[in-house]
């Protein structure tokens, strides 16, 4: 028999989440249900769809471009997440100091995040242009290159990683900056007085205290990285030779270039499954390792 207090806790819990649950239920869960249904259809969004059961999924398994897209998506994610989360923590530590112009540096770091993807794409198209771009010009000065970057199938994906890490670093930085506010200076000083070096202080005091933010950023960055699209759309368009075709790009072209919306939905469902597995794993591991409270 649930005690009165516990019962009222259940009720208040649900009352607190009700507005969010309702809105997200309508605008988040319903559309996903529709998308799941779509994956069992042959649907071009123009004519009457037909139900084809699991045929789309069977086709996926034998589709070499799909397999490539899964591969590219995972490689991209495994590079993007550590680089951006790790890099942003380092940057946040640098910025979390009372030095002159710190507001200026923080704003500068934030600017790539606030800039439209179109502008970012343009800049990188220019920077990494093989013949006339700044990157090869500078690399040439130290006798390196020239590299094809976006135009070389072997380098294109890594160029996208560089571009997106640069573009999103500032976002992670502000989350970490906020988290670092919860690290009391007294603790840091106490550790120092105990003789701990900078690295040890970081490892044993700071890092555990910002671990909730780390978990958040890892889960969040993973979900986003698995869905990378915009930056690829404004630069390489999935090429050259499918080198940067990731899952969302592939499903976009299936839906809006080839009119195979059902097939695109099937790809989305596979992506959903992959993302869910990653996230659950991270959350589970996180609950064991993350340090909450003071």
């Amino acid at each position: 028999m649930i005690s009165r207090a516990a019962r009222s806790e259940h009720v208040s819990g649900w009352l607190f989440v009700a507005p969010a649950a309702l809105l997200i239920g309508i605008f988040g869960i319903l559309p996903i249900g529709w998308a799941a249904l779509l994956s069992f259809q042959n649907n071009d969004l123009l004519t009457t769809p037909t139900w084809v059961g699991t045929q789309n999924y069977h086709t996926l398994v034998n589709d070499p471009v799909f397999r490539q897209s899964v591969n590219h998506t995972i490689v991209y994610t495994l590079l993007f997440v550590p680089l951006s989360v790790g890099g942003s923590l380092a940057l946040a530590m640098l910025l979390n100091a009372r030095i002159r112009f710190s507001w200026f540096y923080r704003t500068a770091v934030f600017i790539p995040v606030a800039t439209s993807t179109v502008a970012t794409g343009l800049i990188f198209n220019w920077l990494l242009e093989p013949t006339y771009g700044v990157a090869n010009y500078l690399l040439g000065k130290v006798h390196l290159g020239p590299y094809g970057f976006f135009q070389n199938p072997d380098q294109a994906l890594y160029s996208i990683v560089a571009m997106t890490v640069w573009g999103w670093l500032g976002f992670d930085v502000i989350v970490y900056l906020a988290a670092l506010q919860g690290v009391p200076e007294s603790l840091v000083e106490a550790a120092r007085l105990d003789g701990a070096g900078r690295w040890a202080t970081f490892r044993h005091v700071v890092f555990p205290l910002v671990s909730p933010a780390t978990l958040f950023l890892i889960v969040w960055s993973t979900i986003n990285a698995l869905q990378v699209f915009d930056e690829i759309y404004v630069t390489t368009r999935g090429g050259p030779l499918h080198a940067t075709t990731v899952m969302v790009y592939y499903l976009y072209s299936q839906a809006f270039e080839f009119f195979h919306a059902g097939y695109a939905a099937a790809i989305a469902e596979v992506l959903f499954a992959i993302t869910l597995v990653f996230s659950l794993l991270q959350l589970w591991l996180g609950n064991r390792r993350v340090h909450y409270g003071s």
């Binding site: 806790e9 259940h10 009720v11 208040s12 819990g13 649900w14 607190f16 989440v17 507005p19 969010a20 649950a21 809105l23 997200i24 605008f27 869960i29 319903l30 559309p31 996903i32 640098l94 100091a97 030095i99 710190s102 200026f104 923080r106 704003t107 934030f110 790539p112 606030a114 800039t115 439209s116 502008a119 343009l122 220019w126 771009g133 640069w166 670093l169 502000i174 900056l177 906020a178 506010q181 009391p184 200076e185 603790l187 205290l209 909730p212 958040f216 969040w220 698995l226 869905q227 969302v248 499903l251 839906a255 989305a268 469902e269 992506l271 959903f272 869910l276 996230s279 909450y292 003071s294």
Partner: protein
């Protein structure tokens, strides 16, 4: 080792990083003050012949940007307000309360982020249409009133706060809601400021959803207005960049102001 120079060594690391990060803004500003023929050069002309400020009024007048800015403001501020309220409520419940189905619900909400928008945009449109909201500002606001991102973010932050304060308040007879509003939120300014900035950023820069759901100029947002500078074959780079710079301005303002709140010292709160 004593640092011999009068400024912190951090500057040495931060300056090149800041320069790298400022590249897009620099490039946008540069393009926005060029003349159109000047912009049609590759590699880009780095030192313009003069400052062609005319691009700014030209961009502003090319479309009713005053209206677009107002619309974007209404939508964005509403989304920010909604998120602050609903994510705080839900985030607190997930952080501190035990209720039936809590963890499943949390994962379910998070799961809604895992299907790409390109797939969900059509059913979302149909839902909005059933509500009779197509081509109206509420169509842009209501789906963005709360995001699982905000809930997750606040949940993590709330859990780092010392629970003793909340327990003490409850023992003093404070209701759950009271604890949230009077104890937890005031201590969460950095997180709330972060949520404000990020929600502002996304809603302000949102393009694909407004594109689909808005069909008339009166309801258009700034991003839709900017897209008009990109034709099928030709892009008016100078006006586009001038427009982009103007669109960036409110964002930066919010960020600079918000910094006060997400970088604050807790040393004086007597907490620890």
């Amino acid at each position: 080792m004593r640092w011999p120079l009068p400024f912190s060594p951090r500057h040495l690391a931060l300056m090149p990083i800041a320069a790298l990060m400022l590249l897009p803004l620099g490039w946008m500003l540069l393009t926005s003050i060029q003349t159109l023929p000047e912009s049609r050069h590759f590699p880009p002309v780095l030192i313009p012949s003069g400052i062609h400020w005319q691009n700014y009024p030209d961009a502003w007048n090319a479309a009713p940007f005053g209206r677009f800015f107002a619309n974007s403001m209404i939508v964005t501020l509403s989304a920010v307000a909604g998120n602050l309220v609903f994510c705080s409520l839900a985030g607190y419940a997930f952080a501190r309360m035990r209720f039936f189905g809590r963890d499943v619900l949390f994962v379910a909400l998070l799961a809604t982020l895992m299907v790409p928008f390109q797939v969900t945009m059509i059913p979302t449109f149909l839902i909005v249409q059933k509500m009779g909201l197509v081509n109206s500002l509420p169509a842009l606001i209501v789906p963005n009133l709360v995001t699982p991102f905000g809930i997750f973010l606040l949940r993590q932050f709330f859990r780092t706060l010392p629970i003793e304060l909340e327990e003490a308040a409850r023992m003093d007879g404070c209701s759950r809601l009271g604890v949230l509003v009077r104890v937890v939120l005031p201590l969460s300014m950095p997180a709330l400021a972060t949520l404000t900035i990020v929600t502002f950023l996304w809603t302000w820069n949102d393009f694909l959803w407004p594109l689909i759901v808005i069909t008339s100029t009166n309801q258009s947002t700034v991003q839709l207005g900017l897209a008009q500078f990109q034709g099928a074959h030709q892009t008016n780079w100078t006006l586009l960049m001038a427009g982009n710079v103007m669109a960036l301005a409110p964002m930066l303002l919010v960020f600079i102001i918000g910094q006060r709140w997400f970088v604050q010292s807790l040393a004086s709160t007597g907490l620890k």
